[in-house]
């Protein structure tokens, strides 16, 4: 659905205007096939994913689960691949001057695939379903700003007091704190509407065969570890998709990418990722055929320094480390030029705030500056710097390279330790963590806040009684000015002014080298362009199923 929306809104406003009034009929370009996109209707698109955690909006969280949920449900707004926010079911939005009350008009006349009407109540139902304590949803926190959320999460109430429906197609949301970007947050699938049959969040019957209001619907139910099949929702109230069917094979996580690649080679998949060692031969073979996609997405890779303890406590020490790393050499040697160097905390797809080369120490390795800074910071030769990373995910090579460079340039001793992922996360959370960790972050929705707040605000350190860090700010970066700027941004109604504040906040954090940017996550895919047209990667690094077409 996210794809469908972006295509539609880019393609033409006329279609949307028609869609708004229709519950089926004149917006139907799927069957005609030739207007709009370049391709025809029909076809089955086949791909492999790993077993999702959930395909129901209440707990869909990784790109695999979101791939399914996003195509089964349509919400108020959608993110486009290039970080914009476009309306889907929202006809209009209004925010009060204090930033605490949002009023959305919802398109009338659209339906769930079981025929039930999608109205303001179906949004309220969906949101309350997620927020309830029993749901134990990993994504419910995206709703934390809604008044009454805490009471529902703690089990004191069933419904969030902040949600109401003054009339059938009006959704009013009261927030506990000002948030002028609440509309952007609703692009997350967790804000999907659900029909009455959804029941509560633990309704297994619904969660394995969700009934939604998106461009696709389930064919049969989720066959765990085996497959999920989606078919075109012919009653979709907006621009109908062209594909007939999507066959999603569920592959095991151990060698999923290998199987995807082999599946593509043997003609069983139309879309595939590749194992890192196969990237170069795959590119050589498939790029000339036009079957190779490379896109910089919103994912960013960093070295996460522990800022409250250990050798990287001082900003100068962290800057020295950053200067000592030769990113170009690693990108060339380890990634065979298939990653892009990054010199910012925020991803380049956030065009409105992106400041090229903000991190001066990232642009080029500078051994002299690195040594000088290290000396000033008291980072002595012989000091041990721990670097933790998770094994089995292709990080070994570049971590070793970084370790070597730090040892060569700074004369320090680097102890790089690989651990299973669960252990690595537990390590980062320990009160006594020191050194640095491999770290990556991708956006849930296209706003700088979704990087800056969780990763770097003091509130996101969230230490528990034992001193364990339970928030996402594992580097324990804390700067009052930064926190104030974020609060100011959240309270700014004007988007342009807000973006300026985000830029300022990013600069504050970058001057402190709160994170050490390494490279942008460039996503590489193989795509069957012999058979399909208009295939692109969406905001969540998935294929834009709802808008691609047969050739």
């Amino acid at each position: 659905m996210r794809g469908a929306k972006s295509a539609k809104w880019v393609a033409g406003a006329a279609i949307i205007a028609l869609a708004a009034t229709a519950c089926g009929g004149n917006d139907d370009n799927a069957d005609k096939g030739k207007d709009g996109g370049s391709g025809k209707a029909g076809g089955t698109f086949r791909l492999g994913i790993t077993e999702p955690v959930a395909i129901d909006p209440y707990n869909a969280q990784e790109s695999e689960g979101i791939l399914v949920t996003d195509n089964l449900f349509s919400g108020l707004y959608e993110p486009t691949a290039d970080g914009q926010v476009v309306p889907v079911l929202a006809e209009s939005k209004q925010v009060s001057d204090d930033g605490k009350t949002w009023t959305f008009k919802i398109k009338a006349g659209t339906k769930f695939s079981n025929g039930e009407v999608v109205d303001a109540e179906s949004f309220i139902r969906g949101w309350n379903r997620v927020a309830q304590k029993k749901a134990a949803s990993d994504v419910a926190y995206h709703m934390a700003g809604i008044a009454g959320f805490a009471d529902v999460q703690s089990g004191k109430a069933d419904k969030m007091s902040g949600l109401s429906a003054p009339d059938e197609n009006t959704l009013e949301v009261k927030l506990s704190e000002p948030d002028f970007e609440f509309d952007t947050k609703t692009t997350h699938t967790v804000f999907s509407p659900v029909p009455k049959v959804a029941g509560d969040a633990k309704n297994a019957a619904y969660n394995t065969a969700p009934i939604g209001n998106g461009p696709f619907k389930m064919e049969g139910k989720w066959e765990h570890n085996k497959k999920i099949t989606l078919v075109r929702n012919d009653d979709y109230g907006l621009t109908k998709t062209k594909l007939d069917k999507v066959e999603i094979s569920i592959l095991n996580s151990q060698n999923g990418t290998t199987l995807e690649y082999q599946g593509f080679q043997s003609g069983q998949f139309d879309w595939a990722r590749m194992p890192t060692p196969q990237l170069a031969p795959a590119k050589a073979k498939y790029e000339p055929l036009g079957e190779w996609i490379a896109e910089d997405t919103n994912g960013m890779n960093y070295l996460l320094p522990i800022t409250d303890n250990g050798p990287l406590k001082s900003a100068k020490a962290r800057e020295a480390v950053s200067y000592a790393i030769d990113r170009d050499a690693i990108i060339k040697g380890v990634f065979q030029n298939m990653m892009t160097k990054s010199a910012t905390i925020l991803p380049p797809v956030f065009k409105d705030v992106y400041t090229k080369d903000l991190c001066t120490s990232c642009v080029k390795q500078d051994k002299v500056k690195a040594k000088t800074l290290a000396k000033e910071a008291g980072l002595k030769p012989g000091t041990t710097i721990d670097i933790g990373y998770n094994t089995g995910a292709g990080h070994e090579e570049w971590v070793q390279a970084v370790a070597q460079q730090l040892e060569d340039v700074l004369g320090v001793k680097v102890k790089a330790t690989g651990k299973p992922f669960a252990e690595l996360l537990a390590d980062q959370q320990k009160p006594k963590a020191t050194g640095a960790y491999r770290f990556a972050w991708g956006a849930d929705y296209p706003t700088p806040d979704n990087f800056l707040f969780p990763l770097l605000s003091t509130a996101s350190i969230n230490k528990d009684a034992s001193g364990k860090v339970t928030g996402d700010n594992r580097g324990r970066y804390s700067n009052k000015k930064f926190d104030e700027l974020l609060a100011k941004a959240r309270g700014s109604k004007d988007a342009a002014a807000r973006n300026e504040i985000y830029k300022e906040a990013e600069k504050v954090a970058m001057d402190d080298v709160a994170l050490i940017p390494l490279w942008n996550r460039t996503q590489l895919r193989l795509v069957n362009t012999k058979k399909f047209a208009d295939v692109k990667m969406d905001f969540h690094e998935n294929p834009n199923l709802a808008e691609l077409s047969l050739k």
Partner: protein
């Protein structure tokens, strides 16, 4: 005989309890909270969610209580709930167990047919090109790790020739490559065992007598030689059925075969302890039962063996 079976089944309970206790203790003292993070994501779980999940899975109780609860449920055939989707472990593992059993049965068939055929041919044509070929290939097969063999087979027969589907579609066709990969090492061993016992039996007096009587070659082969050579082979095959699980972890991963071997590999990666304990509990039970069957079969085939 009846008492023997009852006693052996009694041992089964003790072995299963022992195995789960050891495993339980190991898994639950591993570093890292099993529900503390989402595997594969850098994002932390909300403390409120963690607390709720701890409660749901009984992880807020002391280890002894957890084990007691586990054993209590185990007695009713309940293996608990898994951590990633909160589904009953039995519901998750039942279809996987069936899949692995399918794979194992076909693998055993390959074992027996390929192994015995190769062994017989080699023994009958001792020191011929046939014999040397069998000896060479079986030695090679035992030496090549199944992960290498599996990947070669996948490359040749799936990607280059396109004879088999890459992703299992539930058909017999998709069963052949993984079953063959799983079988090949055992088949090679069966061939070597069959060859040596055949040679031994062929030198026995009663075979010489049979030949001297002028019995047809085929009759001598099937009635006298094969029948008496088959006992060690049956024993070996029976036991190897249990050990197939180890091979299944690798084979199922390569071929994306949705069996318990693969479930175990994934569960270990995700700290999904209920699945790990569940798979091990089931495997231990299967292993013990199979050993019992082999012992009973052994006694049936060889009247000199008595069970007591």
């Amino acid at each position: 005989m009846g008492r023997y079976v009852v006693r052996r089944l009694g041992q089964l309970v003790v072995v299963v309890l022992g195995a789960t206790l050891v495993l339980f203790a190991c898994l639950f003292v591993f570093p890292g909270d099993p529900v503390g993070q989402i595997a594969g994501s850098d994002k932390a779980r909300d403390p409120a969610v963690i607390e709720q999940l701890h409660k749901q899975y009984g992880l807020d109780k002391p280890l002894v209580v957890q084990y007691g609860t586990y054993v209590g449920k185990l007695a009713t055939g309940d293996l608990g709930q898994d951590y990633t989707q909160g589904r009953p472990v039995t519901e998750i593992l039942a279809p996987k167990l069936a899949n692995t059993a399918k794979l194992a049965v076909v693998a055993i068939v390959f074992d027996v047919f390929i192994g015995i055929a190769a062994g017989v041919i080699a023994a009958m044509r001792r020191y011929s090109v046939w014999d040397m070929t069998v000896t060479f290939t079986t030695t090679l097969a035992i030496g090549v790790p199944s992960i290498v063999l599996g990947m070669i087979m996948q490359w040749v027969f799936v990607i280059q020739l396109g004879w088999f589907p890459l992703i299992s579609d539930g058909t017999v066709r998709s069963l052949i490559l993984p079953a063959f990969t799983l079988a090949i090492i055992d088949a090679a061993l069966v061939a070597q065992i069959a060859r040596s016992t055949m040679l031994e039996v062929m030198g026995a007096d009663y075979v010489k007598t049979a030949v001297a009587k002028g019995l047809p070659r085929v009759t001598v082969l099937f009635r006298h030689i094969m029948r008496n050579s088959v006992i060690p082979v049956v024993t070996y095959v029976g036991i190897s059925f249990g050990t197939l699980l180890g091979g299944a972890m690798i084979t199922e991963t390569i071929f994306n075969w949705d069996g318990i071997g693969l479930a175990l590999v994934n569960a270990i990666q995700q700290n999904n302890n209920p699945i790990i304990v569940g798979v091990v509990t089931i495997s231990v039970a299967v292993f013990v039962v199979l050993n019992l069957i082999v012992d009973l079969l052994y006694a049936a085939l060889d009247p000199r063996i008595r069970l007591a």
